[in-house]
């Protein structure tokens, strides 16, 4: 029996994410079967569940398909230069310490062109939540080889298969010092939402990698089917092992995808270390940056 989905009703009831999205920009730019929209949905849902003051949340993206995420979330949103989302976010956080600053961007952006910023922000334990959407390729420019393209996978600039070793991102983040490191796929919508929510409660450099399908480029170039087939692959090949050694999280072409929260520990953030250190050394002479920003009202 076919039941109508009552489109008349749907038009009058708001989608639950409406308050968190720039609905005047929907439909978004992402292709059919792309996983980025799902990650945005999970991110928005986690924000809602966390109960934090959304007026104080900023979202920063770089360039690329995942770089467009900041443009769809109804937060203070910054669509910055390619690779520079993390340093831009660093400025936001240090300039107004009371903000919750999040970074949503892609693998090419954050660990290709922006790789240096990524490891240093993790090393400093800057108080940033970084959600990296990994589709194994440069999507917006047409499927070129990226820092995460698995060995032997085809890309438009490795037409005979990739011979470069890709990054194992959880391992990279953990070894750079990130106190919260997780990986999910865009199929793990509940765990991803919960993980983002959990990370929002933590502090320091929190890193969540989300493996997501790129049907139009990565999957097509590798003859791996469409988005839903990719989601089935995640269903079959994702293995959840919380607390696993991030060193074991490398992704082979069509191999297992190790998921879970790999690192969840406490480490003082950049600002905590700064405050503590200057407090010890300078005592009462130390004037911390005001939480709402520096010298806004004059003398």
């Amino acid at each position: 029996m076919t039941v109508e989905a009552r489109p008349d009703y749907a038009e009058t009831v708001e989608h639950p994410m409406t308050p968190f999205l720039r609905m005047d920009r929907i439909p978004h730019v992402w292709c059919p079967g792309c996983g980025i929209g799902t990650v945005v949905r999970c991110f928005a849902s986690a924000l809602e569940k966390s109960g934090i003051d959304l007026d104080k949340v900023s979202v920063v993206s770089g360039i690329g398909c995942a770089g467009r995420t900041a443009g769809y979330l109804k937060l203070d949103g910054f669509h910055t230069a390619h690779g520079r989302a993390i340093p831009f976010a660093t400025g936001l956080k240090l300039g107004r310490p009371e903000l919750t600053v999040t970074v949503l961007s892609g693998d090419g952006d954050l660990v290709g062109i922006g790789g240096n910023h990524f490891i240093h922000a993790a090393r400093r334990n800057l108080d940033l939540l970084v959600v990296l959407i990994n589709n194994f390729t440069y999507g917006m420019t047409g499927g070129q080889n990226g820092p995460t393209t698995p060995l032997s996978a085809r890309s438009s600039t490795m037409p005979f298969g990739n011979f470069e070793t890709p990054f194992n991102l959880p391992h990279l983040a953990a070894s750079s010092g990130a106190p919260y490191v997780a990986r999910w796929t865009s199929l793990h919508v509940r765990r991803l939402t919960w993980s983002i929510e959990e990370a929002l409660e933590r502090k320091g450099f929190r890193f969540i990698e989300v493996v997501a399908p790129c049907p139009v480029l990565y999957l097509r170039l590798n003859k791996l089917g469409d988005g839903v087939q990719r989601m089935r692959y995640y269903h079959d090949e994702a293995e959840i092992r919380n607390g696993a050694d991030p060193g074991d999280a490398a992704i082979d072409f069509q191999g297992k995808i190790l998921c879970g929260v790999f690192v969840d520990e406490e480490r003082p953030t950049y600002q905590e270390l700064m405050d503590e250190h200057y407090g010890n050394v300078l005592g009462d002479d130390y004037v911390p940056m005001p939480l709402e920003g520096g010298m806004l009202g004059g003398g």
Partner: protein, 104 residues
């Protein structure tokens, strides 16, 4: 299959939520995620085209949606969601659940 399924002791009292699926058909890009992963197989791809030329999903099983929200959460297009309707019968009155296609 159902012989392996332990019947909850409070099945006669607990009223499982009953959901209604709402589809914003014109937003859909036809990725099929919702159809593929609905644990109750409520949805199928429609033969109709939406304004963009994609086949949106349609509800093919009435009364079985439990408002688990998976379709809403997995939809990359913000094109589908569920609402809970109060008039659910007790779980005991529902057909025995099937194990296949458990939500990830």
């Amino acid at each position: 299959m159902s012989t392996f399924w332990r019947r909850p002791l409070d099945a006669d009292r607990v009223r499982p939520p009953h959901g209604e699926v709402l589809i914003l058909a014109d937003r859909c890009k036809g990725c099929e995620f919702c159809v593929e992963f609905c644990p109750k197989d409520v949805l199928a791809m429609s033969k109709d085209f939406n304004r963009k030329g994609y086949h949106p999903p349609e509800v093919v099983k009435s009364g079985v949606c439990m408002a688990c929200n998976l379709c809403e959460t997995i939809c990359p297009e913000f094109a589908i969601f569920t609402t809970t309707t109060p008039e659910s019968p007790p779980a005991a009155a529902l057909p025995a659940p099937v194990l296949e296609g458990v939500a990830p």
